[in-house]
């Protein structure tokens, strides 16, 4: 831990706390205190004509994931490396956990900051277990505690324990990446820095590792700074995204949603690409929009009532549903074919119902829901929530509802 006195604002005033317990981290997360802050940081490499990072200032709140994105040469990796002093800034101040990080020997500062890089950089001459245990070993844990921690971390990052006693060369790229994350987390550092951690693995493994990181973050609540050139990765992982331009200029620092909704300038807009709307949809879920009832009747409705609902909605089909139960749908042809003027008492429930193919759940991202809708003949999707072992029908969504999701 970087140790100065920690203060928390509470109802009884400012309270000093000195130990890094889990509860303490949670308080910090809630108080929103910046874990990392850069104040007017500039980096000029000797012999280089251009400035790598130019007057950069931003803060990373405790427990937050911040992505640094930008084209090559924008200084994002240099910025990351200045946080743990792998690169020393030419001028400016970097505060880590409230203390000027220059006040501590670099190697001690680094032991409290996890670091994951693209090339992973596992030590080839040490078993995976001894790789993961590197920082605990440096700070003097005993062998037994390190071994127990390695087992725990292997489970946490999804690495089979059998692999712990192999050498890194025997692991696949994805497994090495998991080992790299486990190593970074070994001494439970409050901060994790990740430099293009997933660029070297194939897209399928990458997507899974990203999902795993988000799931992991729900457990570990680290302050994470991740460097990536992939805007989709930034949008998917980060709470806030810092878009940087060549020469180390911060163009915009905002939540993914704000960024996509209102890019600060032409550069940010072009970096975000043409599919900004679709990318924003990927951030929202079906649960964020209000489903409509749509052309729908109860099983007890008469056939003529069903026809008039279809007329009202100008559709050739009608859903049969009651309360939270979706029974299926009927086509106009079926209803008209069954219509018998001599027997006005028959109901839609008596007819053979067909099941809906275009289903989404409240957790489906809107981008995916849109795909379901445009592929459905009915141009809509039914929203079904799996509740225990039964399905709850919540209503329907159409393109209108999806588009409306971007307005909120």
């Amino acid at each position: 831990m970087v140790g100065d006195t920690w203060w928390v604002n509470s109802s009884t005033g400012r309270t000093p706390i000195c130990t890094a317990t889990a509860r303490f981290r949670q308080i910090l997360a809630e108080s929103g205190r910046a874990a990392i802050s850069l104040v007017d940081v500039t980096k000029h490499f000797d012999g280089s004509l251009t400035t790598a990072v130019d007057g950069l200032s931003f803060e990373v709140a405790t427990g937050e994931i911040v992505a640094l994105v930008g084209p090559s040469g924008c200084g994002k990796t240099t910025t990351l490396k200045m946080i743990n002093r792998l690169v020393e800034p030419t001028s400016g101040t970097i505060m880590v956990l409230g203390a000027d990080q220059g006040s501590l020997p670099a190697h001690e500062l680094r032991r409290s900051i996890g670091y994951v890089i693209q090339q992973i950089g596992l030590f080839p001459h040490r078993t995976v277990r001894r790789n993961i245990g590197v920082v605990p070993e440096l700070i003097g844990w005993d062998r037994e505690r390190i071994d127990a921690r390695c087992d725990e971390l292997a489970d946490l990052v999804g690495l089979e324990r059998d692999l712990l006693d192999r050498y890194p060369a025997a692991l696949s790229g994805g497994q090495q990446q998991r080992a790299g994350v486990a190593r970074a987390l070994a001494a439970d550092p409050p901060i994790l820095l990740m430099d293009e951690p997933y660029s070297a693995v194939d897209p399928i493994v990458r997507a899974r590792l990203q999902d795993d990181l988000l799931a992991l973050q729900d457990t570990v609540h680290k302050t994470i700074v991740i460097v990536t050139h992939d805007i989709d990765e930034a949008i998917k992982l980060a709470d806030r995204v810092a878009v940087m331009n060549v020469g180390g200029i911060l163009e915009q620092f905002a939540t993914p949603d704000e960024l996509l909704d209102a890019p600060a300038n032409e550069f940010v807009a072009s970096f975000l690409g043409r599919e900004r709307g679709l990318r924003r949809l990927a951030l929202r879920k079906v649960a964020d929009v209000t489903p409509i009832a749509g052309p729908s009747v109860t099983p007890g409705a008469s056939l003529s009532a069903a026809l008039s609902v279809m007329d009202d909605f100008a559709t050739t089909w009608v859903a049969v549903a009651e309360a939270e139960v979706l029974h299926g749908w009927l086509s106009r042809e079926t209803v008209e074919g069954a219509l018998d003027p001599g027997d006005p008492g028959s109901t839609v429930g008596d007819l053979p119902l067909r099941p809906f193919g275009s289903r989404v759940s409240p957790t489906t991202p809107l981008r995916e829901a849109l795909d379901v809708i445009v592929n459905a003949h009915s141009r809509m999707a039914v929203v079904i929530e799996r509740d225990g072992d039964r399905d709850r029908y919540l209503g329907m969504i159409t393109i209108d509802e999806v588009a409306g999701g971007l307005e909120s």
Binding site: N84, L86, H107, E108, L109, R110, R111, I113, Y115, I117, Q119, I120, G121, L122, F123, P124, H125, R126, V134, V135, L138, R166, Y167, A169, A170, R183, L193
Partner: protein
């Protein structure tokens, strides 16, 4: 009869009579060689660390090392005798200077070949410079370091025979004796044992490398 046997390549009866003498020469040879190798290793390690830490020193160090390496051994003894006289010190100075070029070049090459990502990771995990060098870089450089050590050892063991010319014993003393008396047996015995010793050390170092680098076997 005896004259014929003296002239043959090897006269076993002489060997049997002179086992004590041969053993004595073996002890001398091993001592002279091992001192040179151990001192050469220590000195080269220090020089390699300096060369890696202060990059500008690498060229001057290897330049001097390579000049020493090219001086014929007899000439080097000759150059040293006015300062250090006849004897062990002169021999060791010469022998050690032959190891430096090979050992420093190989050690620095081995350290340079450690992947940058591994060094970065070590720094980022909070290794101090020394700890990184000794526990990460040096183990990974071992294959190259030991390859250099094998060449240096074999070279030194061969050159120890020349050191007999300035009165240091070893197998060279047997060879000199044979040459002066036109008596092949000690020449053959001295040469064969010297070669055998070189091969033994070479093999032991290969084995040591195998034992010290388990990760290269389980990839």
């Amino acid at each position: 009869m005896i004259a014929d046997e003296r002239r043959s390549l090897i006269w076993w009866a002489w060997v049997g009579d002179h086992l004590d003498d041969i053993w004595q020469r073996t002890v001398e040879h091993v001592q002279i060689a091992l001192i040179a190798i151990v001192v050469g290793c220590l000195l080269s390690f220090v020089l390699s660390v300096i060369a890696v830490r202060f990059r500008w020193t690498f060229k001057p160090i290897t330049r001097v090392g390579s000049i020493l390496y090219t001086i014929p051994s007899l000439a080097l003894f000759g150059l040293l005798i006015p300062f250090t006289g006849l004897g062990l010190l002169t021999a060791e100075i010469a022998l050690v200077s032959y190891t430096i070029f090979i050992l420093v070049s190989n050690t620095v090459a081995g350290l340079d070949a450690v992947p940058a990502a591994v060094k970065d990771a070590a720094d980022a995990m909070g290794y101090t410079w020394w700890r990184r060098l000794l526990t990460v870089e040096f183990p990974l450089a071992l294959p190259t370091v030991i390859a250099g050590l094998r060449i240096a050892s074999v070279t030194v063991i061969g050159l120890v025979t020349v050191a007999a010319l300035i009165g240091n014993g070893g197998y060279g003393a047997l060879i000199n004796d044979g040459l002066q008396r036109s008596f092949p047996t000690p020449i053959v015995i001295g040469s064969v044992l010297s070669v055998a010793f070189a091969l033994l050390v070479d093999g032991l170092l290969a084995l040591a490398l195998w034992a010290l680098t388990p990760w290269r076997r389980h990839a």
